[in-house]
């Protein structure tokens, strides 16, 4: 934007972050060269899949984590350690279970020191009042509902009068109705100017939530985490979910997020190595089969609109995308804009009986997942037809973090067992061909 606004509040400049491995070496990058500006009066959403580094970015902004490269400044001051002027709301509420609602709200003020007890009490009661917690002051967190707990989370953050409010998936641990109430309440307070904050940065994996609340949405791509797109939301508040413009925006973001990561240079799978860099999500074969059947059945008849599918299955993108992606990797289905459609093999799978289904999965696994092909080749080569799982785990760890390697291996074991390609002995932690006798 050329008309540089004078009221830049928060600035993230060229932030990169790598996570240290256990050995102390730099591991895989989590964030790569992320730059972002937040202006006074804005609600900015950080939208992305799990593992795209959006929570890490939020923690870097708050000063809870340090970037490996780049920096953050708030109102012109460089952030160096937990920052003055920001407060965070957590997905898990993060309330101290041994403190009452009132004590939880007061803790931030007490920690500062130098404020009189009376003032602490007055400010805390005011925040409690604003956020709608009256009457719950003496309750303990475990006595109250999730919605009320998150209200405590908000009151605790607001009472220290931050300039920027950071929210880490604040509504995702709540049920649909409660989440909606809290969203509307927060937006009302914000619109009416009853809370003294200047900007909100929220992390979410819920596309509709982002479009509903934010003035600007920053879409993050994973592996490594980077900004894929920035989308302004020009709709006036309060927004209507069934407004065609709203739907259009949602579709647009779905399409953006299901785009294949730019064409890989190593497309033809080489016999060893490179193909192993594909991390697999944790997905069960039942879910895969269920999804294929859902897409094949009416009203979708082989091609489903993702927002619609997500809505009818009550799935968030973090549930939906991993399934879709695994199906795409196995070439049973593929994304097309904001749609997912069955491939001919996928259609064949749906029509088949159990044995044929197992066979199909087995074939697709060997043909399309390099790790599975690699395991099979190693088993073939060895006279004993056995191979320890740790060997493959270590190979995977050259390309991804330990957690991802573990998860990828689990998924391949699962698919391999279902497809009867190979067996895995849990207690010996070894791959083999034989089944227990």
């Amino acid at each position: 934007m050329l008309d540089q606004q004078p009221s830049t509040l928060l600035e993230v400049t060229h932030v990169s972050q790598t996570f240290a491995k256990g050995s102390g070496e730099a591991g895989a990058p989590v964030l790569q060269d992320v730059s972002l500006t937040v202006r006074t009066g804005e609600i900015v959403g950080l939208l992305g899949r799990s593992g795209c580094g959006k929570s890490t970015l939020l923690r870097i902004i708050s000063g809870l984590a340090r970037p490996t490269k780049g920096g953050v400044s708030i109102a012109g001051r460089k952030v160096d350690g937990p920052a003055d002027g920001v407060a965070m709301v957590f997905q898990s509420f993060a309330l101290f279970p041994w403190l009452t609602v009132l004590d939880n709200v007061e803790i931030g003020l007490r920690a500062l020191g130098g404020i009189s007890d009376d003032e602490i009490r007055t400010r805390a009661l005011k925040a409690i009042d604003v956020i709608g917690l009256d009457g719950f002051e003496n309750a303990y967190p475990k006595e109250i509902s999730g919605g009320m707990r998150q209200r405590v989370g908000f009151a605790r953050a607001l009472v220290v009068q931050p300039q920027v409010l950071l929210m880490d998936e604040p509504f995702s641990a709540l049920d649909v109705l409660t989440a909606e109430t809290l969203r509307t309440d927060l937006l009302d307070l914000w619109q009416e100017g009853r809370i003294p904050i200047k900007a909100i940065v929220m992390v979410t994996h819920n596309i509709e939530e982002a479009v509903l609340m934010c003035d600007r949405i920053v879409v993050l791509a994973s592996n490594p985490g980077r900004i894929a797109a920035e989308i302004a939301v020009p709709l006036a508040q309060p927004r209507d979910r069934i407004d065609p413009e709203f739907r259009q925006l949602v579709e647009k973001i779905y399409a953006l997020m299901t785009q294949r990561p730019e064409p890989k240079p190593l497309e033809p799978a080489q016999p060893t190595g490179p193909g192993l860099s594909v991390a697999l999500p944790q997905v069960s074969t039942n879910t895969l089969a269920g999804m294929l059947e859902e897409i094949a059945a009416p009203p979708y008849n082989g091609q489903a609109d993702l927002p619609h599918l997500a809505d009818s299955l009550q799935m968030e993108i973090d549930d939906l995308f991993p399934i879709g992606e695994t199906l795409q990797l196995l070439r049973l289905a593929e994304f097309a804009d904001a749609d997912i459609k069955l491939t001919p093999i996928g259609q064949k799978f749906v029509d088949a009986d159990v044995d044929q289904r197992k066979k199909t999965i087995g074939e697709q696994l060997i043909a399309n997942i390099p790790l599975a092909a690699h395991i099979k080749r190693v088993l073939d080569e060895r006279p004993s037809h056995r191979a320890p799982g740790s060997r493959f785990r270590e190979e995977l760890e050259d390309y991804m973090s330990e957690d991802y390697a573990e998860r990828t291996l689990r998924t391949v074991i699962n698919l391999g067992r279902y497809g009867e390609v190979f067996a895995y002995d849990e207690s010996a932690q070894a791959f083999s061909y034989e089944n227990p006798e």
């Binding site: 809870l64 920001v86 993060a94 931030g108």
Partner: protein, 577 residues
């Protein structure tokens, strides 16, 4: 009370590594050092005038009071130790490398064997003064209480929930504030459980430490332990009975007036999402909460404590931090320097132990002690196996009947407090009367006090066995052998192991008093390293004590690491419900 805590993080490091060697060497070297420092003294240590213990029943309340004071003094010391040692280990990576293996060794070695050293040390500090003897007893009790409390606290500090930690850091709580607002409250449930276990275990040491003879020095402190010891010497069955009743009353009093109220109050420190299913209740706490004046009287104290906890007190003023974060390279050099320092210390420590023992003893003695340790090992293994075979089915039976479990579990826990010394009378009389082989029949005493750990942990496991699995087993008519091996035993294994590990450690300790048993002027002894240590202690023969304790500790540590921990790790992985 049905809560049982496992070995948590220790299970990962199963095999002994070089840190264990270092820890082991350090612990033994300190012992040898103390022994050597006092060995040269020609004059016998000056002990305070041995006070005559009266076997009059009416003296018992006073003795009980003195003993309880000692136990609480030791408990206070254990808390100080816990808050400093565990915190240091949790906060400093380099300190952790040494402190945790040391703690682990201290936790598994038979502490009773050290008694002679500590008594010598404290008497030396206050020659001829009752203070030295008191401190020696308190220290002995402390050594039985502190390690598991420190371990529990350390583990809690390492597992503080990440989001709560982020809140504390986000609000910029100082280290001091965070310690009292987050870390300590989070550690309370585990620490409290371990404190209660420690209190129970402490009784064994009270009896052993209030009346002890090291060489020519005899200490007798007024207390229940000395009373039991005097009654044993005087062969007074009735006095032993009176001591048992007194102990029971004391345990009941501190349980009802102290631990119950604290447990009920501390329920709020449990980090869980929903309100607890079982509400701990305490009439004493209810009573206190209903009073008005008493609570008002306590108010200034709570306000003061809260102010203290929120002081912006920080070490940062003294130790500059952050700005001088060492670069990775510098940090590595520091690490190496630290490792070299620790390695040098270890070599020196090992050398001094060997040199000390070597002055008077030869390889022959080492072989002898090794053989004796093998006998004791055999005894522990066989008796643990017998106790398991007998108690596990009984405990399962009880655990599956909630009404029974509710009542019997606390009783078993209660029984675990009673020291084996109470059984010396019947043991000696029976062995002598029927000309029994002491090598076989004294073994029974080893598990007398420790079998209860197996009982109440297994009851807890059976009580926690999921109902749907029980119903499924019934529905498919799984009965008899299959029901035991495929349904219930796998279900209670982790609980059983938690109890068995404690019982096994306790049995080694017990062997030191139970392999050489006195009743009046009659002595019956069995062959074993426990008897070897006990006899050396009587004679004040320090090189032999060091040798005995060292080899016993080595075997116990290896036994724990190679057997129990491995088993526990496997059970954790495969059988966790």
């Amino acid at each position: 009370m049905a809560k049982t805590t496992g070995l948590a993080s220790t299970s990962r490091r199963v095999l002994p590594n070089h840190w264990d060697l270092i820890a082991f060497a350090l612990v033994m070297a300190i012992l040898a050092g103390v022994a050597r420092a006092y060995h040269g003294l020609t004059a016998p240590l000056e002990a305070p005038e041995a006070q005559a213990i009266s076997l009059d029943y009416w003296e018992l309340p006073y003795y009980a009071f003195r003993t309880a004071l000692r136990m609480f003094a030791a408990l206070a010391a254990s808390f100080v130790f816990t808050f400093t040692y565990a915190t240091l280990a949790a906060k400093s990576r380099r300190a952790e490398m040494v402190l945790i293996p040391v703690l682990d060794i201290l936790q598994s070695v038979p502490i009773l064997g050290f008694l002679s050293f500590t008594v010598t040390f404290f008497l030396g500090l206050f020659p001829g003064n009752i203070m030295g003897a008191e401190l020696a007893a308190i220290f002995a009790i402390f050594t039985s209480q502190a390690w598991n409390m420190a371990f529990s606290f350390y583990q809690s500090l390492r597992t503080v929930p990440r989001d709560l930690d982020e809140v504390a850091r986000g609000f910029r709580l100082t280290g001091w504030q965070k310690f009292w607002q987050l870390e300590t409250p989070f550690a309370v449930p585990g620490l409290l459980w371990n404190t209660m276990m420690s209190m129970s275990g402490g009784w064994f040491f009270v009896v052993a430490s209030e009346a002890i003879t090291v060489g020519d020095t005899t200490i007798t402190l007024p207390g229940v332990g000395s009373y039991i010891s005097a009654a044993t010497t005087a062969k007074r069955w009735d006095a032993i009975g009176a001591a048992v009743v007194t102990m029971a009353i004391v345990i009941l009093i501190y349980d009802q007036l102290l631990f119950r109220p604290i447990i009920a109050w501390a329920a709020k420190f449990r980090v869980e999402l929903s309100a607890g299913q079982e509400q701990e209740e305490s009439w004493a706490l209810d009573l206190f909460m209903r009073t008005r004046w008493l609570r008002l009287a306590f108010r200034p104290l709570t306000v003061l404590l809260r102010k203290l906890a929120f002081l912006r007190f920080s070490l940062k003023g003294i130790i500059p931090e952050g700005s001088v974060n060492p670069t990775p390279a510098a940090s590595k050099i520091l690490d190496v320097a630290w490792l070299i320092l620790v390695a040098c210390l270890t070599v020196y420590a090992l050398w001094s132990v060997v040199a000390y023992i070597g002055t008077e003893l030869s390889w022959g003695d080492v072989e002898e002690v090794s053989l004796l340790t093998f006998y004791t090992l055999l005894r522990v293994v066989v008796l643990m196996a017998l106790a398991t075979v007998f108690w596990v089915p009984v405990s399962v039976w009880i655990g599956l009947r909630p009404r029974w479990a509710e009542r019997i579990q606390p009783v078993a826990q209660f029984l675990a407090a009673f020291p084996v010394n109470l059984l010396f009378g019947p043991a000696v009389s029976l062995v002598l009367a029927y000309h029994l082989n002491p090598d076989v029949w004294l073994s029974v005493l080893i598990v007398f006090g420790t079998q209860w750990y197996i009982v109440f942990n297994t009851i807890g496991g059976a009580a926690a066995f999921p109902n749907d699995l029980r119903e499924a087993a019934k529905n498919f008519r799984i009965r008899g052998w299959d029901w035991w091996t495929k349904v219930i035993l796998p279900g209670v294994t982790t609980y059983y192991l938690t109890g068995a590990i404690t019982a096994s450690g306790g049995s080694w300790n017990a062997s030191i008093v139970a392999e050489q048993v006195k009743w009046g002027n009659q002595t019956v002894s069995a062959h074993g390293v426990g008897q070897y240590i006990a006899a050396a202690t009587d004679k004040g023969d320090f090189p032999r004590i060091v040798l005995g304790v060292a080899i016993m500790s080595l075997v116990v540590t290896l036994f724990n690491r190679l057997f129990w921990r491995r088993l526990y790790a496997i059970a954790e992985r495969r059988l966790r419900l």
